[in-house]
């Protein structure tokens, strides 16, 4: 086995060991944090807040959907023709 191979094995052992150690610590830290927050925090629930999920910016705000818009246009036209503005 050449040197690179042994370096790679060393790196794997140290690396995976550390990654697991770190994330296991993080599991416990997170559980502890949640427990503390839920115990001492004021009882504000607000779980139903729909978090923005996607990475992408909603490209067009479009507050009125096309169907609706079209229908509105027709309604307006009717309305105007009736009222002879």
């Amino acid at each position: 086995m050449n040197e690179l191979m042994s370096q790679a094995i060393d790196l794997m052992v140290a690396g995976m060991g550390f990654v697991f150690a770190f994330l296991i610590i993080l599991v416990f830290a997170t559980l502890l944090m949640s427990k503390l927050v839920l115990r001492f925090g004021p009882a504000e629930p607000e779980p139903a807040v729909p978090a923005r999920k996607s990475r992408a910016k909603p490209s067009a705000p479009s507050p009125v959907d096309p169907d609706t818009a079209e229908a509105i246009k027709k309604a307006i036209a009717q309305y105007r023709s009736r009222h002879k503005k």
Binding site: L4, M5, M16, I25, L26, V27, S34, G41, A51
Partner: protein, 440 residues
Amino acid sequence: MDKLMTLWTGSGLFNIEPGQVVMILIGLGLLYLAVRKKFEPLLLVPIGFGGILANIPEAGLALSAAENAIHFAKPQAMAALAGVLDVSYQAGQAVTPEIKEAFKAAYKDASYASISMANAVAQDNGYGNGMLYNFYTVVIGSTIGPLLIFMGVGAMTDFGPLLANPKTLLLGAAAQFGIFGTVLGAALLDWLGILDFTILEAAAIGIIGGADGPTSIYVSSVLAPHLIGAIAVSAYAYMALVPMIQPPIMKALTSQKERAIKMTQLRPVTKKEKIVFPIVVLVAVALFLPDAAPLLGMFCFGNLMRECGVVERLSDTAQNALINIVTIFLGLSVGSKLMADSFLDGQTLGILGLGIVAFAVGTACGVLMAKLMNAFVKEPINPLIGSAGVSAVPMAARVSNKVGLEANPQNFLLMHAMGPNVAGVIGSAVAAGVMIKLLG
């Protein structure tokens, strides 16, 4: 007439080299994949375009002023550079290809101070840094680009599913075997004499297994900048291929019954937990792995801005204007490393081959870890969410969901898979920190 001759001898058609033709075709191929096949277009469009720009003959867009001066090899400029770079060359001496090579080699090995002096001398002689060279220096050379992308990704990440089920962090840990397994794979190729790699190169290639674009670019810019083009292209291409790479592995390692496991609905997570979590991660990084501080620090900062609710305008900017601007420059900068002489190389093929191994190993280890965990926990975990531990947010989680639905049409795994998915981001950033600590 004279002037038309100058235009002709300075044209691309007159000067183009076969390697440049190939690289331009590769650039066009990346654009095709990005535009038609929707392969991570946000990065691959700029990378592909930057790759084409970098290979335009005579334009020297990806070269420094000194490299441009050496390319054009006018005796006066060469004489001025000879002193700075310590190459033996007399003013007036003919510039043979060997001498040009000697200058290139000397520039490559020069110290920072010499490089900056050589560029100043080249500018005095009328040469400038190429546009893409400047982009690379500012955005990647300083490491700022990937860090800002990571900040923006943090501002787009919802840790809710992870907080509801923190043990899925372990799935994100297991999937990092993809990284270190690939390092081993590279070492194996070297041992077998198929390709030559240093440990730095092997580590940089391994990070492809992290399945996270900015982390890959960051690590390779620190450990092996000459491979950044191949590594980034490989990472983004395989991230786009996740829906094809993962399902066969996932199915091979699980039984129909395991795939049909329904998981209980996630508990609601309070806003306060979401605010405190990035700070917990930051403190853990500070205590245990300072070398991951730039990556995870910026990630946590972005996430804190998102969740804290009092700096919406900063969070919006981090998720939109700022990340978009950085993405444009980052992509072009990565593209600048797709130059023929460094890309058309056996190593690149090795990187592409190892990259897919990395994804496969990561996927497998994530799934196996989930099965292992099922031996210890009460509420069973559907092993399909283990594969999401590789990162590739949110594609890998969607794959888990899709394969789950195939096994059981009532089985919605998406939110459950988001936990390991974002855990994978943290996991690969930790792995990056370890590699930089031990090798950087």
